[in-house]
Symmetry: C2
Subunit: 205 residues, 2 copies
Amino acid sequence: MTIVKKDKSTEEKILAAAKKIFVQQGMAGARMQDIADEAGINKALLHYYFKNKEQLFEVIFMEAAGRLFPRINEIFLSDQPLFEKIERFCSEYISIVLENPYLPLFVLNEINRDPDYFLGKVWKGRNVPKPEKFLAQIEQEVAKGTIRRISPLNLLMNLISMTIFPFVAKPMFQKNLGLDEWQFRATMEQRKKEIPKFIIDSIKK
Amino acid sequence: MTIVKKDKSTEEKILAAAKKIFVQQGMAGARMQDIADEAGINKALLHYYFKNKEQLFEVIFMEAAGRLFPRINEIFLSDQPLFEKIERFCSEYISIVLENPYLPLFVLNEINRDPDYFLGKVWKGRNVPKPEKFLAQIEQEVAKGTIRRISPLNLLMNLISMTIFPFVAKPMFQKNLGLDEWQFRATMEQRKKEIPKFIIDSIKK
DNA sequence: GTCATTTTTAACCAAATGGTTAACAAAGAT
DNA sequence: ATCTTTGTTAACCATTTGGTTAAAAATGAC
């Protein structure tokens, strides 16, 4: 069995490098030279593969957004009961993001910089989360009396906030609470179960 | 009574302009020329008041951080009972941020870009939030049996996440949930009471 | 092997950008 | 009024940065 440590193709090296630099520095802060250096290639070669910075950025951004949004929809649109959806959302989402802890801040930041660019590019691709069904489901449970009266919008915000925010504020939490990388991961693993429990304890009648 | 529409001093104009541009574009994306234009002055005059971009940025960043962090401490270190603290935190914090909705993302983003710069500058000023007392207080309540067993760290994360995240994700929530400016504000006003209720319903025995 | 195509590089270029200079105007001070 | 200090400007400069060019390797077709 030959151990073929096959070189990643140049394009793959570029994409990995670009992702690292863009996520760290943002579109404005990223330097094409840094991306080339990180990929171990010449800057001209970068432009041979991707004609300009904006196009390269778009590839990275779409890939990042594509990792974060479609799965949400899949869960929100499924036919599971409410509590199961909440559990699934927390668990799956935290798993996804644990592998790319800096994606949410990156994406939110770029959305903030130019909401309409985002709307035009990502939102088009019908992968846009459609929360209506989930919101309606909450209202049904309220009507059935299985959960207390609560504004569906607020419940949705609570769920998403508790799940995502710790990643967005990761460096702050780490500095302020003195968590090392491992402790942070462990805490987030805990939260896969803690958040659903927290929510259900609050709303279940 | 003379209506003296006194011009803001040049320095004030610069600071207002710089805040707007930096918060919108971040340190890397902000252009000194844009700040000068926004302030209605010459670029040289900008350097007359602030010797370079970094120093100007630091003033803006510290002012922003100074708005967000000290009040937290004030609340967390007070001698109020736990539930009151939670209510006060949500209510006061949302009020503060409603006046500057983009500050949290700005600050988190810059912390992320260079956590140690942040640590060195802001964290020094002893306004650094010290959560120990708050965490201990939660443990006491658990011991007393007034609230159910819950990890203090998780509870703190939940509180902060639900309060701050909607601002960080404001453009996303607005696009996705179709909220206009006014509806967003109204929702956040609601949340001043909704979040504490949500938490207390979850943990109170 | 030879030729055509693809990949890679060093050197270069134009525009953008942070920052400076030197002169000019306004405002006090005497 | 004159002089000094402070505020403001247009023009300029050096560096950085995204992007290009033309030539050299490498790869593949025959």
